[in-house]
């Protein structure tokens, strides 16, 4: 049995803006192993979010193959893709994307209700366990608007994990958080990765976040320019930043 949980081969993604075709990914190939804690790094517009969207089955490739958990996503119907997202993937968004009218508990419970596999008691138990794990159990009956950014992202992490997915995708999960909270969120994700063996793929351009990854896939102009260790990637990111900074030029 191959150990790759995500397999991307020669993927091209193009967007049409009127008559102009804008390439977002230009022939990307990538293998992600089960249980990896992998970061996708690169500057804005490099294709990080597009790559995550393709892995997350919320978008389709123009050309090439995307396999998630052994399934070729281009061969699946809309309904099957939705089911794949529900059963196999968890999402953590930069802006948290919680349902404003639901409580913390209900937001986390929602994917379980969509799955309709567990009874009420089991659902409650699992939700409360996760809320405790992310340290937000005392706010279970609060609405998202009553929480801080860090607390909301913890709720989003709990929601992403509640169905026990094989892969969690996080798009700039710390971008809207202060550095201390961002560190805490990454530590929490890393802890869950190590304890539960869940594959985490997250995008970032923050080297403080990048350093926690097992490996870093570096993107530029829609192409993968390297997959390297976190230390090497951080060093490269720092060098690149210094090259662009007027201070670093001296």
């Amino acid at each position: 049995m191959p150990n790759s949980i995500v397999s991307i081969r020669d993927v091209v993604k193009e967007y049409s803006l009127g008559k102009v075709v804008v390439p977002a990914l230009r022939g990307v190939s990538l293998e992600v192993e089960r249980g990896e804690f992998i970061s996708i790094a690169g500057p804005s517009g490099s294709g990080k979010t597009t790559l995550l969207n393709l892995i997350g089955c919320v978008d389709t490739a123009t050309r090439g193959t995307v396999e998630v958990a052994g399934k070729n996503t281009s061969a699946l119907s809309e309904r099957q893709l939705t089911q794949l997202r529900l059963d196999t993937l968890g999402f953590i968004f930069q802006s948290f994307n919680l349902v404003a009218v639901l409580t913390v508990f209900q937001n986390v419970e929602l994917p379980l209700l969509l799955q309709n596999k567990l009874g009420s008691g089991e659902r409650k138990k699992r939700v409360m366990e996760l809320l405790t794990a992310v340290g937000i159990d005392t706010h279970a009956q609060h609405r998202p608007s009553e929480l801080s950014g860090g607390q909301r992202q913890r709720v989003a992490i709990a929601r992403a994990l509640v169905t026990e997915p094989q892969i969690v995708l996080a798009d700039e999960p710390t971008a809207n958080l202060d550095s201390a909270t961002g560190e805490a969120i990454i530590d929490l994700m890393k802890d869950l990765n190590q304890k539960k063996g869940i594959t985490f793929i997250f995008s970032t351009h923050d080297h403080r976040v990048m350093k926690h990854a097992d490996s870093v896939v570096r993107l530029a102009d829609g192409k993968i320019i390297g997959k390297e260790s976190a230390d090497a990637a951080v060093q490269a990111a720092l060098t690149s930043a210094a090259g662009r900074s007027p201070v670093g030029a001296h």
């Binding site: 919320v58 978008d59 809309e78 939705t82 999402f91 209700l113 969509l114 169905t163």
Partner: protein, 434 residues
């Protein structure tokens, strides 16, 4: 969860929900009030028709000495009664009444054509309970040569209690006969029906038409129900039983007896033919007003709903635009398109149910207030609405019809925006800014 999200989304936009809900509730109130007025008309119609000119089911008939001369009589009626009693043992009672269509002239020279009903007032307890005598005494109709008029008839003829009238009508033998009568009572109007009918001493009607004791105008059968489906079965049983007993029966014709004269006199037969009708047939010439009022209720509701519906659709578009990112998120985390659609439909449905329920409650309160205020109607409306007072009769059935109808329309209006929300691609929806 679908309904919870829908309900809380409505609550989150309180002002918007309140305005839309109030509009829907208003439509419900209008529809219920109009349906209530139609029901009031219908009940007045049933009450007045089954009091003034019809039983629940009638066995009447025409007797023709020659092909061109018809009289509205049933000969040897006691034998007919026997057949009726055997065929319909569940009937409550049978009243036999004389019938006529005559020209009535006052001493002042004013004349008017209307229906005459010959009654034995001692055997008409139901009538005494329903008629409201304004002047004179109903019991005086026991005297030969007496007549009771409704107030509009008395006004048109310019007579009061104690005044004399001359009645002129053709007998079954084809000769005109006249009879002098005295007004012994004047009753309050009973809607449109009281324009066409008056009561006369039964013996006097026989005298006018020169009929014997074995002859009557109509046998009015009271069943204890006005339900037309039930009554139709009774009519069918009577047709079969009377046919088997050798009586000639007229073909079914849902019109009042005096509308049938022309047809009957054109036909070539002579002798007796029986005519079986129900109360609705006898008032068919006025019951269109009830149907019109019902149609008006639905039409106005439809017009108002169209206006409100456009508002609801616009608000749902706004709501979907505002919640596009939420829709994208829900689709991304695994909500199927059908469920997204149901979520928005649930909003329309909840808005419909809650507002129509509130509207129904307001409608009921309004009906109580209107009925309590005892609003006297202008003359023209009295004629159309068949009552001198505005009467709103809300029924459980019509309330349910209004609530279900309006909720269904509101939910239906939500269908297109919901469908479009469900078709949004998750990636596009999540990237939406606004």
């Amino acid at each position: 969860m679908t309904f919870l999200i829908a309900f809380r989304s409505l609550l989150q936009h309180k002002r918007r929900t309140f305005v839309l809900g109030a509009a829907v509730a208003f439509v419900t109130v209008v529809m219920l009030t109009l349906l209530g007025i139609a029901e009031g008309m219908n009940r007045t119609l049933i009450e007045s028709s089954t009091t003034l000119m019809s039983g629940h089911v009638n066995v009447a008939g025409f007797y023709k000495v020659t092909a061109g001369q018809a009289a509205p009589v049933v000969t040897h009626y006691k034998q007919v009664v026997e057949v009726i009693r055997q065929a319909v043992p569940e009937l409550k009672y049978i009243a036999q009444r004389g019938r006529g269509w005559a020209k009535i002239t006052s001493d002042g020279g004013t004349n008017k054509m209307f229906g005459l009903t010959g009654i034995d007032v001692k055997n008409e307890k139901g009538l005494a309970a329903v008629l409201k005598i304004k002047e004179g005494k109903l019991e005086d109709l026991a005297k030969p040569g007496s007549i009771m008029l409704f107030e509009d008839q008395a006004r048109d003829l310019e007579v009061k209690v104690g005044d004399a009238l001359t009645i002129q009508a053709p007998t079954p033998r084809g000769v005109n006969n006249t009879l002098d009568v005295t007004v012994v009572a004047i009753a309050n109007n009973m809607g449109m029906m009281s324009q066409f009918s008056s009561f006369i001493n039964e013996a006097s009607l026989r005298q006018l038409y020169q009929l014997n004791d074995e002859t009557t105008g109509a046998l009015m059968i009271y069943m204890g129900t006005t339900d037309l489906v039930q009554l139709k079965k009774v009519e069918d049983k009577l047709r079969e039983a009377l046919g088997k007993s050798g009586y000639q029966i007229l073909e079914e014709d849902p019109r009042a007896f005096f509308f049938k004269f022309e047809n009957v006199t054109r036909e070539a037969w002579t002798g007796q033919k029986l005519d079986i009708t129900n109360w609705r047939d006898e008032v068919n010439f006025v019951s269109w007003t009830v149907d019109l009022m019902n149609a008006l209720a639905f039409f106005l509701a439809f017009v108002f709903l169209s206006v409100v519906g456009i508002g609801i659709m616009i608000v749902m578009w706004i709501s979907i635009r505002e919640r596009t990112r939420e829709i994208g998120t829900l689709r991304a985390i695994g909500m199927q398109r059908g469920r997204v659609m149901r979520m928005f439909l649930a909003e329309g449905f909840l808005l419909g149910v809650l507002s129509t329920t509130a509207g129904a409650l307001f409608g009921l309160v309004l009906a109580v207030v209107i009925n309590g205020a005892d609003v006297t109607l202008p003359q023209g409306f009295q004629f159309i609405l068949m009552s001198d007072h505005l009467k709103v009769v809300p029924t459980v059935a019509w309330t349910l019809v209004a609530v279900v109808f309006i909720t269904a329309v509101i939910t239906g209006i939500s269908l297109l925006p919901s469908f479009i929300a469900a078709r949004l691609k998750p990636v596009t929806a999540m990237q939406h800014v606004g």
